[in-house]
C-alpha cells in the first residue's frame, strides 16, 4: 500500500471482492435492475412494526446472505464497516448487533458504501483476512427523518430524488482471485453553496468532479482507461451537471459514465423524478448489478465513485448549504 499523487492510495497486493449480496424494497423490485438482486421485498415493513426495524432487518439479512454465499464463516471475518442514514446509524448497529464481529460504524451519507469498501481494503492490506462492509437505507425512514410524514399531501419537485429501500453488502478478502481493488481516492469535502435539499445531485456533483479529477491526476490515468465510470446517486440532474463540469475541466466522460440512481429506477414509469439516492443506492446497484458484470467480465475496469450530501434536517433549517463528498474506488479484473 502506498500513496500516489496528492490523495490516492495504491494497493501493491490488491485485495479482492469475494462476494456481494443485496436486498431491495418493493419499488426497486419493479425497476429495471430487479432481476440482479438476491431478494426483493413486496412490503416496506417486511413484517416488522416500524420502518427502522425493517431497515435493520434488511441489513441483517443482507449480511447473512453475503456470509452464506461467500462460504466464509462469521468467525473468520476480522472486522466489519457499516453505516446508514438514520441518526447515529441505528439501522446498521441494531441490525448487526448479533453478528459477533468487530464493528466500525461509519457515516459518509450516501457515499458510505465506497467509504466502507475503501476502509475494508486498507484493513485487508494490513492485518485482516476477510472484512465485511454493508450499508442500508429505507425510503420511509429517510423521509421521516429528513423530509415530511409519508401521508402529507405534498408535491415532490422534479429535482427531488427517491431514497432507495434496501441494503448492499460485500466481503473483501486479502487473497482472492478478483475483482481487485487496485486504487482508492478518498474525496475532499466540496461545498458549492447549494442549499436546496430537493436538489442533492447539484449539491454533490462538484465533489464528484473534484474526486474524479484528483484520481486521474494522481494515477496518471484518463477516462478511456476505464470501461465504466459509475457514480453513486447524482441522479438525472446531477449526472448531466457532472458530465458538463468534467468537460469544462478537460475530461470527457460522457460515453462510459452512468449513475446508480439513474440505473435503479425507470424514471418515466416509476415517477421517481431525478432518480434514486441513499446509502443503498450505490450499495445495491454495485452488489447486485455491477458486481455480476465484473464477474461475467462485461466490465473489466470499473471506477466506482459514491457521492454523499453531508447534511441533516437541522442544518437545512438553519440555512446552511449542503457540503458534498465523493469517494472513488478503482476495481479491476
Amino acid at each position: 500500500m502506498e500513496k500516489v499523487g496528492k490523495q490516492t492510495i495504491k494497493f501493491n497486493n490488491p485485495p479482492s471482492i469475494l462476494e456481494c449480496a443485496s436486498i431491495v424494497g418493493p419499488k426497486e423490485s419493479q425497476g429495471p435492475l430487479a432481476k440482479y438482486f438476491d431478494q426483493t421485498l413486496d412490503d416496506e415493513f417486511w413484517g416488522e412494526k416500524t420502518w427502522e426495524k425493517a431497515e435493520s432487518k434488511i441489513i441483517k439479512e443482507t449480511v447473512n446472505t453475503v456470509i452464506s454465499k461467500s462460504g466464509v464463516p462469521s468467525e473468520q471475518i476480522d472486522c466489519c464497516f457499516a453505516g446508514d442514514l438514520l441518526n447515529q446509524c441505528i439501522s446498521s448497529s441494531f441490525g448487526l448487533r448479533e453478528l459477533n464481529v468487530p464493528f466500525f460504524g461509519v457515516f459518509g451519507a450516501c457515499s458510505t458504501f465506497v467509504e466502507s469498501m475503501s476502509l475494508s481494503a486498507i484493513c485487508c492490506e494490513t492485518f485482516a483476512e476477510n472484512v465485511l462492509c454493508a450499508t442500508s437505507s429505507h425510503f420511509c425512514s429517510a423521509e421521516k427523518q429528513f423530509r415530511f410524514p409519508l401521508e402529507l399531501g405534498n408535491q415532490r419537485p422534479p429535482s427531488a430524488q427517491w431514497t432507495v429501500t434496501g441494503s448492499g453488502a460485500a466481503i473483501i478478502t486479502k487473497s482472492g482471485t478478483g475483482p481487485y481493488i487496485t486504487h482508492i481516492t478518498p474525496g475532499k469535502i466540496v461545498d458549492m453553496g447549494i442549499k436546496d435539499a430537493n436538489n442533492m445531485g447539484a449539491a454533490m456533483a462538484p465533489a464528484f468532479v473534484d474526486t474524479i479529477i484528483s484520481h486521474f491526476l494522481d494515477t496518471g490515468r484518463n477516462p478511456s482507461y476505464y470501461d465504466a465510470i459509475i457514480s453513486g446517486d447524482l441522479g438525472h440532474i446531477g449526472k448531466e451537471i457532472a458530465i458538463d463540469i468534467a468537460k469544462t475541466q478537460g475530461y470527457n466522460i460522457k460515453s462510459i459514465y452512468n449513475d446508480c440512481g439513474v440505473l435503479i429506477f425507470d424514471k418515466n414509469a416509476q415517477d421517481t423524478h431525478s432518480g434514486g439516492s441513499g446509502c443503498a443506492c450505490c450499495g445495491t446497484v454495485f452488489s447486485g448489478y455491477l458486481f455480476k458484470q465484473l464477474k461475467e467480465k462485461k466490465i473489466k475496469k470499473l471506477l466506482l465513485i459514491a457521492t454523499g450530501a453531508l447534511m441533516n434536517s437541522t442544518s437545512s433549517q438553519q440555512g446552511e448549504s449542503i457540503p458534498g463528498i465523493a469517494h472513488a474506488i478503482s476495481i479491476e479484473l
Binding site: 425510503f139 419537485p157 415517477d271
Partner: protein, 130 residues
C-alpha cells in the same frame, strides 16, 4: 324540516365560491413552485395574511362575495381568528383579544386534533406506490 334545494344549489353563488377558492389555491401553487417554500411555511403565510386582511376589514368583502370560497382556504381560518379576536374585544375588552380568536376557531382545531388522534389509532402510514 324541509330543505329548499334550490337555495342549497344556488349556481351563481357556487360558481363564485369555486372561482375564488380556486384562485386562492393558484396563488399557493405559484408560491410552492416558484419559491421552494415548505408546506408549513406556505400555510403560515396564508393564515397570517388572512388574519391581517381580516383585521384590516378587507377580507370580509371577499367572504361576502364568495362565501366558502373565502372561508375554507386557510386565509379564511386566519380571518376567522382575527374576527373572533375583534368580537372578543367588543365584548370583554383586552381579555377578549386573547380568548376571542381561539374561541372562534375552536371547532376546527379540536376536530383536527381529535380526528388526528383517531386516525393514528386505526391507521398506519403506507408507502406511496407512485
Amino acid at each position: 324540516m324541509d330543505i329548499n334545494w334550490a337555495n342549497v344549489f344556488d349556481w351563481m353563488s357556487l360558481l363564485k365560491c369555486f372561482v375564488v377558492g380556486g384562485i386562492i389555491c393558484i396563488i399557493g401553487q405559484i408560491l410552492i413552485d416558484k419559491t421552494k417554500l415548505t408546506p408549513a411555511r406556505i400555510l403560515v403565510i396564508f393564515v397570517t395574511t388572512g388574519a391581517i386582511l381580516g383585521g384590516l376589514g378587507i377580507y370580509k368583502y371577499l367572504v361576502e362575495f364568495a362565501g366558502a370560497g373565502a372561508t375554507v382556504p386557510l386565509t379564511g381560518f386566519g380571518y376567522n381568528l382575527a374576527k373572533g379576536a375583534i368580537e372578543g374585544v367588543k365584548e370583554t375588552g383586552l381579555i377578549g383579544a386573547f380568548t376571542g380568536g381561539v374561541k372562534a376557531a375552536a371547532g376546527g382545531i379540536a376536530a383536527a386534533v381529535f380526528f388526528g388522534y383517531i386516525a393514528s389509532l386505526i391507521s398506519k402510514p403506507k408507502m406511496k406506490k407512485q
